[in-house]
Structure formats: structure tokens, C-alpha cells
């Protein structure tokens, strides 16, 4: 009996401290929220208060060990003054040119004040919702900083919009939000780079980034979205990211995972009208005792849509990665074409990669396939490269880069590709 007891009453994975309505109101007032946002925070707080903390009975958190994560201490440190992010927006065209076309590319706060209608319509309404998860609710309470990109119907911008989001090395909390809305036939590229400014002291306290990404693509819109995460090693990174893809729209979504102590990212593409396409790619590399968890979901809600996911991971030292992917085909979503693959390259025997593909198919005329592999670095390619004069460490680097290449090539900006390759090379050592 005593052995079963902990299973009957699972301990929460995390413990939140005492958050109160008054505290949330004070936070809102300190940030000078417009009324609509202040209301949203309180609504999020109500949801958060009623949402149980993640526990290991929940499939989503079953493989996660957060026993050392001190959420209550971190939340006690939430401060509207210090939890802001540094957001560096680099538009591809001059502000005047973009404005003339009706494009909005601005910070979350600016959009919250000046583009109220847009924000009230899209901010955490149809994409990421506060009811999604514990961390989505918490994000709704404390959201602060981030970026909004809006491209009106028919406007096509070929050069990338870029965002550099920085946490300070001594920062304890951050709650960045990304909202992208592309109207009918619009086209854009958005590249986000998340990192910590400077290096926290080795004994720096735990920090948390709790972000959300919302992407709404209207009919025939096309978006290339890239996000590279390179937080410092004291950061626990929780993100809820979702795209809603309407008729004939196309999303190319690449995530890069390099930093953080711990990451749990929920990444979801909802194909809600026919003939939408979602191409989801991931490249992540975990070292030391990093834990990177990605939960991906390809939801085929409408018929005749296509989704293709390829997530590739390398692991070394005692790192751990978990990919849990699901393709869900809703009743009536005939002619679905869905694929998912997760490839893991284990560079040390003490690292561990879990790869859990899943299919839930409720329509009969579909093509759904998946593949997942966990492998080690093979000797023959290394010997072959060495036989051409390439030293062992460089041969390893080439093979590992080659492993990631098919994903990295999907990034539409050379500078970002180079940055990712350089970080991968650093990790290989």
C-alpha cells in the first residue's frame, strides 16, 4: 500500500507560490496596461488559479523531472520593472514604407496600446489560449514584452523581419509574446533570436522564460517563421506555440534549440481549412545536463491539407531530449497527407533521447506516416573523411553538421544558418 500511495496522490511537478488578484492588478497598473489587457490578465489569473500544477500523471509531464525547479521562488521574484525583455526589431524596409503598406511590426506593448482592435481580436483568443496549459495561463497573467507582426491582404515582403530578444543575465523571469497575423495572400519571413545577454554567475539562481507564439495565416498567406533559442543555462524555458493555417496558406516553421537548462515547448499547427500546408522543422542540440522537450502536434482539422515534420536532435554528455509528436486527423479530414520524423544522434552513452511518435486518425482516406530513430555517430563516415586528411574532431563536426543540414537549409537567411552552424560547432567542441 505504501508503495502505491505516491501514485494515488501525485506530487505536483512544480509549486506556485501565493499569487493573488491584488498582485496581478498591481503588476498591471505598474505596466500601465490598457484596460482590455488588464482585464485579460485577471481572466488569465482566474484560469491559472483553477488549473492544477503539472504532475507526472499527466502524459505531457510524465517524462519530465522538474523536482529541482523552484517555481514558487521564481514567481515571488516577478517584478514588472525587471521582467521586461530587450526587444530589438529589425524591419526589412523603412518604417515609412511598411506603414504605407499597412504593415505593423512593433513591440507587444506598443501594439497593446495602439492596435487595440487587432490585439483584442487575436491576442490569446483563437490560437494559444490561457486554458491550454498551466504555463499558458501563467503567461496570460504576466505577459510582458514581445513582438507583433501584421501584414495586410496581398502585401508580400520578401526580406526577413528580424527580432532579437534578450534577457539580462541577472533576470529571474520573462514572459515574451509573439503574435503574427498574415491576411489573405500576404507573405512574410520572421526570424526570432532569443538569448541571454551575458553569462550568469555559476551560482546564479534559477530563471524562467514563459513565452507564447501565435501565428494566424489567412487564406493563401505564406509565412516562413524561424526561432532560435539560446538562453543561458540557468533558464527554465516553457513555451506554448501554435499556428492556425487557413485555406491554401503555407507555413514553414523552423525551431532551433541550443540553450536553457530545461525547455518544454508545445508546438502545434492547426490546419483548419482545406489545402493548407505546414512544414515543421527542428534542430536542437543538448549538452551537459540540458533537457530539451518538444511536444509537437499536427492537427488536420480540414481535408486536403499537408503537414511534414522533421525534428533532428544531437545529444552529448548527460543531456536528455524528448520529442513527442502527434498527428491528429479529425473526422472528415479526408485526403490528409501527413508525415513526421524525429532523428536523434546520440554522441555519448550517458545521454538519452526519447522519441515518441503518435498517430490519431479518425478519417479513412489519408496518408500518414512517421519515422523515428535514435542512432550514434557511425565509424565508417568518420574514417572515410579522415582518410582524406581531415582530423578526427573536424570529421565528427562535418558528419554532425551534415546530419542537421537538411533542416538548416530550410532557414531562409544565410546569417541565421551560419549562426546556428557556429553554435553547433561550439557544442561539438
Amino acid at each position: 500500500m505504501s508503495l502505491l500511495a505516491p501514485m494515488l496522490k501525485p506530487a505536483p511537478v512544480v509549486k506556485a507560490g501565493e499569487l493573488s488578484r491584488e498582485l496581478v492588478q498591481a503588476y498591471s497598473a505598474a505596466l500601465g496596461d490598457p484596460e482590455w489587457l488588464a482585464d485579460r490578465r485577471l481572466e488569465a489569473f482566474r484560469v491559472f488559479r483553477d488549473t492544477p500544477a503539472p504532475n507526472r500523471h499527466d502524459e505531457l509531464w510524465r517524462r519530465v523531472d522538474l523536482s529541482l525547479f523552484k517555481l514558487d521562488q521564481i514567481l515571488a521574484a516577478v517584478d514588472p520593472v525587471t521582467n521586461g525583455l530587450s526587444i530589438d526589431l529589425r524591419p526589412p524596409l523603412s518604417a515609412e514604407t511598411l506603414q504605407a503598406q499597412g504593415v505593423i511590426f512593433t513591440t507587444f506593448e506598443d501594439a497593446a496600446r495602439r492596435h487595440t482592435e487587432l490585439m483584442r481580436r487575436y491576442f490569446m483568443t483563437e490560437c494559444v489560449k490561457v486554458t491550454d496549459t498551466y504555463f499558458a495561463a501563467l503567461h496570460g497573467v504576466f505577459v510582458h514584452g514581445g513582438v507583433v507582426l501584421y501584414v495586410p491582404a496581398g502585401v508580400k515582403i520578401e526580406a526577413p523581419f528580424r527580432v532579437f530578444t534578450r534577457m539580462r543575465a541577472d533576470q529571474r523571469t520573462a514572459f515574451g509574446h509573439t503574435l503574427v497575423v498574415l491576411e489573405e495572400g500576404a507573405q512574410a519571413i520572421l526570424i526570432e533570436d532569443y538569448a541571454t545577454d551575458g553569462v550568469p554567475a555559476p551560482d546564479a539562481p534559477q530563471a524562467m522564460y514563459n513565452g507564447a507564439v501565435e501565428i494566424i495565416l489567412h487564406k493563401g498567406a505564406q509565412l516562413d517563421y524561424v526561432s532560435i533559442q539560446d538562453w543561458a543555462r540557468n533558464v527554465y524555458n516553457f513555451t506554448t506555440e501554435r499556428a492556425r493555417v487557413r485555406e491554401g496558406a503555407t507555413l514553414h516553421w523552423v525551431i532551433g534549440g541550443l540553450g536553457s537548462k530545461f525547455t518544454k515547448s508545445l508546438i502545434e499547427a492547426d490546419l483548419i481549412e482545406p489545402h493548407g500546408t505546414a512544414l515543421l522543422s527542428g534542430v536542437y542540440f543538448a549538452d551537459t545536463r540540458q533537457q530539451l522537450h518538444y511536444d509537437t502536434q499536427q492537427n488536420h482539422i480540414a481535408p486536403a491539407c499537408k503537414s511534414d515534420l522533421l525534428y533532428k536532435a544531437a545529444l552529448r554528455d548527460e543531456a536528455r531530449t524528448v520529442w513527442r509528436g502527434n498527428i491528429r486527423v479529425f473526422p472528415g479530414a479526408q485526403k490528409t497527407d501527413a508525415y513526421q520524423a524525429n532523428r536523434n544522434l546520440q554522441l555519448s552513452k550517458h545521454s538519452r533521447a526519447d522519441s515518441i511518435p503518435g498517430l490519431e486518425i479518425e478519417a479513412d482516406d489519408v496518408r500518414c506516416t512517421h519515422g523515428s530513430t535514435v542512432g550514434t555517430l557511425e565509424e565508417e563516415p568518420i574514417f572515410y573523411l579522415r582518410s582524406r586528411g581531415i582530423p578526427c574532431n573536424e570529421a565528427r563536426r562535418l558528419v554532425i553538421e551534415g546530419f542537421f543540414a537538411p533542416v538548416i537549409e530550410r532557414i531562409p537567411l544565410e546569417e541565421t544558418r551560419e549562426r546556428l552552424l557556429a553554435e553547433i560547432a561550439k557544442k561539438i567542441g
Binding site: E380, R388, I390
Partner: protein, 269 residues
């Protein structure tokens, strides 16, 4: 005093096993010579090629391999390559995600770095520059022309999805770019149709004409490659040893008679 390239009483076994494959092999070559080693399947020809290149799957238990007065056995596989040894693989390995051009540039730059390090007390100087891109591009273009392959070849992933003929051409392309002093061709003719065989052989011959000091060791089961790449010396390898050596006429004799006449005395011993 050793010959330019010399194998002395070489014994090789499969690593982590007791299976001996090469059982006291001797061979010597002078600079610029073309030698052929012929032998039936299972005689140890490929093991010999891999051992010269330093494959970790084989272990030398006795003897030595000397090149330009130095023992190759003391060198890592990449050092052997930079020292001038090149092995054209029987089964070239696919390197997914690495383009032919990227790979070749890395290999050439590894040589430049190693040379710079040698002059700098073993440390690669920080300011060492790789091969200038225009120089590299020109060399690569010429090498591609030599092997009669399309320029787009350079942008393909190395050996990944290559046909048998493309793989062999890629090997000789690498040889052209890396300019070895000793080239070992391991069953380069296998899997080639007559046109590809001609192109690959002409490639090797052109490289030998360009650098007459390059030694070539052709390892082959069949005589047909030797119609194109003409050796001065032919050796017959059976059961891990050289059992017969002679001039080019030996290859023709083998073509006619097979290997059995050489095996028989072995069997009666």
C-alpha cells in the same frame, strides 16, 4: 634503407578477433611506378588497402609499412593522408548533408592548417587562411571536367544517392584535388560500365602524367582495368601473401589461366 614505399613482413588481423588476414606480405615500389595487385576474392586485397590507410577495424600484429622512410603505422589515418597517401575506396561512404565542395574544401584546408602548424611548433596559427575561394573553384572546375561530370556535382551530398559510376568518379575527383604521392585504387573498376571505366582510367592516367612522381597501386580482381591503367609490375596475392610477381604479361596470363595454378602448390603443402 627502405624503398620509397615498402611493406615488410606485414601481418594483419581483424581488430578484436584472432582472424589473421594478411600473413607476411612484402612489397616495394619506387617513386612514380604503377603496380597492380591481383588476386581472387578473399585473398586480403581490400584489407591491405584499408590497412595502408589506417582503418581502425584492422590491427597490424607484425611487420611495417614504410613510406618515404617513415612508418605509416605510427600515423593516424588523417596524418597518412596529409603525408601523401590516398585510398580510392571500393565502397565509398555516403556523407549525408555534406556537399562535395564543402568536403573538398575542408580536406584541402586541413592540409594547409597542418602545414602551418608544423612550422609553428604544432599549433595551428590563428591567422592561417584556407584556400582562396577562387583558386578552389578553379581547381574544382578542372577536376570535374577531367572526370566528365556536371558542375552541379559539387553541390550534391557526398556519395549520397550516387550511382556506382558516380561514386568511383567522385573518388578520382578527390584524388585530383588532393594530389597524393601514393594512390591506392581498391577495385576501382567494380561496378563500372565500359564508358565509366574509360573515364575513370583516363582520369588516373592524366593525373599520373601531370605528376609522374606519383606512385599508383592498383588493386583488382580482373585484368580489364589494366588495359587502361598500365602497370609496370603485377603481383598476385593469395591468402594474405604475394605469391608471384612479374611484368604486365602476368596479368594476361592470369586472365587466361585464372588463379588456380597458383593456388595448387599451396594446397599440396
Amino acid at each position: 634503407m627502405s624503398a620509397w614505399f615498402e611493406i615488410r613482413d606485414l601481418h594483419v588481423k581483424v581488430a578484436e578477433s584472432d582472424r589473421e588476414i594478411i600473413k607476411g606480405l612484402n612489397l616495394s615500389m619506387n617513386e612514380g611506378e604503377i603496380h597492380a595487385i591481383m588476386g581472387p576474392n578473399g585473398s586480403g586485397k581490400s584489407t591491405l588497402a584499408y590497412t595502408i590507410a589506417g582503418h581502425p577495424g584492422y590491427e597490424v600484429t607484425e611487420g611495417d609499412i614504410l613510406f618515404k622512410g617513415q612508418s605509416l603505422l605510427e600515423m593516424e589515418p588523417d596524418e597518412r593522408s596529409r603525408f601523401g597517401v590516398f585510398l580510392a575506396f571500393q565502397y565509398p561512404v555516403a556523407i549525408s548533408g555534406v556537399t562535395v565542395a564543402n568536403f573538398l574544401r575542408t580536406a584541402i584546408n586541413a592540409r594547409i592548417k597542418a602545414e602551418a602548424a608544423a612550422k609553428n611548433g604544432g599549433v595551428v596559427p590563428h591567422d592561417v587562411k584556407g584556400i582562396p575561394i577562387p583558386v578552389f573553384t578553379k581547381q574544382l572546375r578542372e577536376a570535374l571536367q577531367l572526370l566528365k561530370v556536371d558542375q552541379s556535382f559539387a553541390g550534391r551530398y557526398l556519395n549520397d544517392g550516387f550511382s556506382g559510376g558516380e561514386k568511383k568518379r567522385a573518388e578520382i575527383l578527390q584524388m585530383a584535388m588532393l594530389k597524393p604521392e601514393l594512390a591506392i585504387l581498391d577495385e576501382t573498376d567494380s561496378g563500372l560500365d565500359i564508358d565509366a571505366l574509360r573515364i575513370v582510367s583516363e582520369g588516373v592516367n592524366t593525373l599520373h602524367d601531370q605528376n609522374p612522381k606519383m606512385g599508383v597501386l592498383v588493386i583488382t580482381h580482373y585484368q580489364r582495368l589494366l588495359n587502361y591503367i598500365k602497370p609496370q609490375y603485377v603481383h598476385v596475392m593469395i591468402d594474405g601473401r604475394i605469391v608471384e610477381s612479374g611484368g604486365p604479361e602476368l596479368a594476361l596470363h592470369l586472365e587466361e589461366k585464372g588463379y588456380d595454378w597458383l593456388k595448387e602448390p599451396e594446397a599440396t603443402q
